[in-house]
Symmetry: C2
Subunit: 363 residues, 2 copies
DNA sequence: ACCGGCGATGGAAACGATCTCAGGCAGACA
DNA sequence: TGTCTGCCTGAGATCGTTTCCATCGCCGGT
């Protein structure tokens, strides 16, 4: 019975029979020592041309492939990097992951991916697991960059790490790639004030996240320079729900307190904000000016296109990988700051008058 | 000099000194055999309570952690799964990856991620690399599910694999999770025809991709039942550029040939389509009815909200992982089909008259 | 002709775990 | 009290590499 099936292609035979061929088998078949095969395969040291060819022929014949696991154990490096990410379904993080993975692969590294679902405990757990898997380095987009447990886990890992748009202050010797959220945020705030807005609102992410912190302080800094304007910051999750409920509550205030311009701290938040606006029949930019933060190619598709505090996530990923590679090659933990910019559009306009809708057609 | 720095926390001392402690050291320190430590740590067999406690105490003292690499080498399984994905920046794939990673992690597996950038050669390369890394299983969202090289690579890998929304016909013994794109596609097509549309267009992805193939045949099937209507399919990349140029060329036709309803084969394509429409001052749904395919939470934010042929990518990811786990646990390669649905909105309306714009304010 | 040096090769010890196998010791039963 | 059974424990082989070390042959120098 066994082996009775029709064999479609001849060459596949040898391969499909042997489930896995080891270096020893290659050595035996070639009549050389195991160590010589290793030297040829890993191209490490002086090997005579005749030996090289002899071994390579058998390698090809048997379809030998090195076992990276065994190699890693012996060499003490796995050529693997762990990426801990809040939620890969976040388009921004996905783009970062893409940039990083691409660069790491070029350098011969593979990337382990773990989602921590915005749970700091999972962040720590993943770092621990990655450590046990002996990753050579870590890329971390942490939920809370001030978590002390995490600092301990990270220190124990004792491998190079790069924080991705997270504050590295608590993690000595750890590199970071940071966006200069302040510059984009300040420019956006100033643009709105120049348009005449005096009631600004920032519907923000959680203070545990650096981007949220930076944007909030940028807003406050600008407002301090402009006593004629006032602004408020509403912190919460990077979620549509936070955006929606916060926007709704802002609209439900006394007329003169309703902001005339709002900055959404992420695309997720934006989604909620837009939902609330639609329900309340608020028209952009007639009734409210809107700025969003994540630069998705989608923002230009709205009508009007949305003004955006933008960044290049793909570049962020690449730079993160680059910094990690530098450390993996023995370099120091260098940090980098990438710029953000403000792209104004017709979604921002001068305020017409203190809002006076909110009992419109909606629910 | 060395060690002269202030030590912040006492307990961190022991840990940070020893870069890595092995099972042998635990055994020595506990005065027991290496194999006994192994039994305790892996909780494998009968160990006396006194032995257990003695070992665990030393484990805690030294901060011992098992080396998964060595364990994998010995056990012959790495508890690692490789996920080959076209482009993780595609929100649909990211959501799938999230679902899969979550489920796999629950089962103790880690996930290696590789982007093949819509290049079949990279698909093969990644499978080969994953094989050398001895992954226990593969999740594959292939660029071209009809690539023969790939079938060979896959056969050599000799591990369970699950195709993610890709045709498994060429890969004997490989499981697949498939969307029933036909049902959603047919329902959408029928809905448009019922509204009175007779000129339909499907701006589609590449025929190498199963979803694109399925939707095209669904459209054709429905048209065959409705001789009064005609439709055309334009294949191309899943890209905004394809969507934009194709939509523009459709609009540039003779008036009576311009479709009155268009289905975008992906969100990327939709982006291009909307760009072209805006440039040509085409109003949805007055001038053109639009349906899109990927179910992003964003579609509801357009004005009007876009009708969608929708699916649950998170569920797809979970199910893919589940099927892979079944095989990893010795089960058969089972395949599953998930439903798709059509969600109509005001972006679809009866056609007013053969299009008569196209010299509007645009470019 | 002898010896030092060098390049290529083979043998064997790691890397850090798992797991089989054999032996020791205690309890039970006759 | 002797023997058998059965649970624990320890020793050692093993997974597939890399890499150190010793060896061997060859060449040039004197």
């Amino acid at each position: 019975m066994r082996g009775g099936g029709a064999v479609r292609s001849g060459e596949a035979l040898a391969v499909s029979q042997a489930s896995r061929v080891s270096m020893q088998e290659v050595a035996d078949r070639a009549g050389v020592a195991l160590s010589s095969v290793s030297r040829v395969v890993s191209g490490h040291r002086d090997v005579s041309p005749v030996m090289r060819e002899r071994v390579l022929r058998v390698v090809a014949d048997l379809g030998y492939e090195p076992d990276i696991l065994a190699r890693s154990l012996r060499r003490g490096q796995t050529m693997t990097v762990g990426f801990v990410v809040g939620n890969i379904a976040n388009p921004l993080l996905a783009e970062i992951a893409l940039g990083a993975e691409t660069r790491l692969r070029e350098a011969g590294y593979a990337m382990l991916l773990a989602n921590s679902m915005d749970d700091p405990a999972l962040d720590s757990a993943h770092i621990r697991l990655f450590r046990q898997r002996r990753v050579d380095g870590l890329l971390l987009s942490l939920t809370d960059d001030r978590d002390p447990d995490l600092a301990a886990e990270l220190a124990r890992a004792n491998v190079p790490a790069v924080l991705v748009d997270r504050d590295a202050a608590r993690y000595p010797g750890v590199a970071a790639v940071l966006y200069d959220h302040a510059s984009g945020g300040e420019r956006a705030t100033e643009a709105l004030i120049e348009l005449g807005h005096t009631h600004l609102a920032l519907i923000n992410g959680p203070p545990a996240s650096r981007p949220a912190r930076e944007r909030a302080s940028a807003l406050r800094r600008v407002l301090r320079r402009h006593p004629e304007a006032a602004g408020l910051v509403r912190s919460g999750a990077f979620s549509a729900q936070h955006g929606e409920s916060t926007m709704a509550s802002l609209l439900a205030q006394d007329n003169e307190a309703v902001p005339t311009a709002v900055i959404a701290g992420s695309n997720q938040i934006l989604v909620g904000v837009l939902r609330a606006l639609r329900r309340a029949n608020v028209i952009i930019p007639k009734d409210l000016s809107v700025v969003t933060c994540d630069d998705q190619p989608l923002s230009e598709l709205f009508d009007p296109p949305l003004a955006t505090i933008s960044r290049q996530p793909h570049e962020l990923g690449e730079v993160s990988a680059e910094l990690l590679l530098e450390q993996l090659n023995g370099g120091p933990a260098r940090s980098v700051v990438l710029p953000t910019s403000f792209r104004p559009t017709e979604s921002c306009a001068p305020p017409r008058q203190p809002a006076r809708r909110r009992r419109g057609g909606g629910g």
